[in-house]
């Protein structure tokens, strides 16, 4: 595969927080770097929140991890991702989440290689625990290695 995660994650779009917040606030904080760079617009952020309201918290793919996404192409200028790790639990419609990953895709396929790599990383328990513990340098290191 050609696409590397280090092309997509960097100092700016990996955010570590340690405060009480709602899941809506978490989605906004996680989206901020992508909004600033013009990769997504407010429409996409609203659509991600609507997705939870309409379809329930199915994006919580395992305990403490939510893959936030909405319809491809709507409010997305460039395939992009960002990551927020909060050191306190955030309630997402009844499920505890600490890792919010935003995935924005322009079409049905351009993000798949990234998603596949992310899944590989997160299915590895050591990597998952490192990300959950929220040390930015270590998280960037894992992402850079893949």
């Amino acid at each position: 595969m050609d696409n590397k995660l280090y092309e997509i994650f960097n100092e700016k779009n990996v955010i570590i927080e340690n405060k009480d917040m709602t899941w809506q606030e978490a989605v906004k904080i996680a989206s901020e770097p992508l909004l600033k760079e013009g990769k997504i617009t407010d429409v996409y952020v609203e659509n991600m929140m609507k997705n939870v309201e309409v379809n329930g918290p199915y994006m919580v793919l395992t305990d403490y991890f939510a893959l936030m996404h909405a319809k491809a192409g709507e409010g997305v200028n460039e395939v992009s991702m960002s990551l927020l790790v909060n050191n306190k639990n955030i309630d997402l419609e009844g499920k505890p989440v600490r890792i919010f990953m935003v995935l924005a895709s322009v079409d049905k396929s351009s993000h798949l290689e990234y998603l596949q790599k992310i899944s590989e990383i997160l299915l590895d328990e050591d990597n998952f625990n490192t990300i959950l513990h929220g040390e930015k340098e270590k998280i960037l290191q894992i992402l850079k290695n893949n």
Partner: protein, 94 residues
């Protein structure tokens, strides 16, 4: 053995589920071909077993003849393993 990982759009979550199923099968030492797809394609695709979110189970069950297993958390290896083993157990009974 061919199994399908199914989600609403067949773009994101079903691939994550496919990878979890691949990993579980590998851990168990079982050869299995896992494909991911959206709900409407899955309805018309033959497979030995289907894995999907709890919300989609009944709709899929109405359209396919082989068993459908619900997964609440697509990346939860323990849950995926448990459901996959349920399917394997049905094979032993036959």
């Amino acid at each position: 053995m061919k199994v399908l990982a199914v989600c609403g759009f067949g773009v994101g979550s079903s691939m994550v589920l496919k990878m979890a199923l691949d990993k579980v099968a590998k851990d168990l030492g079982i050869k299995v071909e896992v494909e991911n797809t959206d709900l409407s394609t899955a309805k018309a695709t033959e497979a030995d077993a289907y894995f999907t979110s709890a919300e989609l189970v009944s709709e899929l069950e109405n359209s396919v003849k082989n068993p459908v297993y619900p997964i609440h958390k697509f990346m939860d290896k323990n849950e995926v393993k448990e459901q996959f083993e349920k399917y394997l157990a049905t094979l032993k009974e036959e």
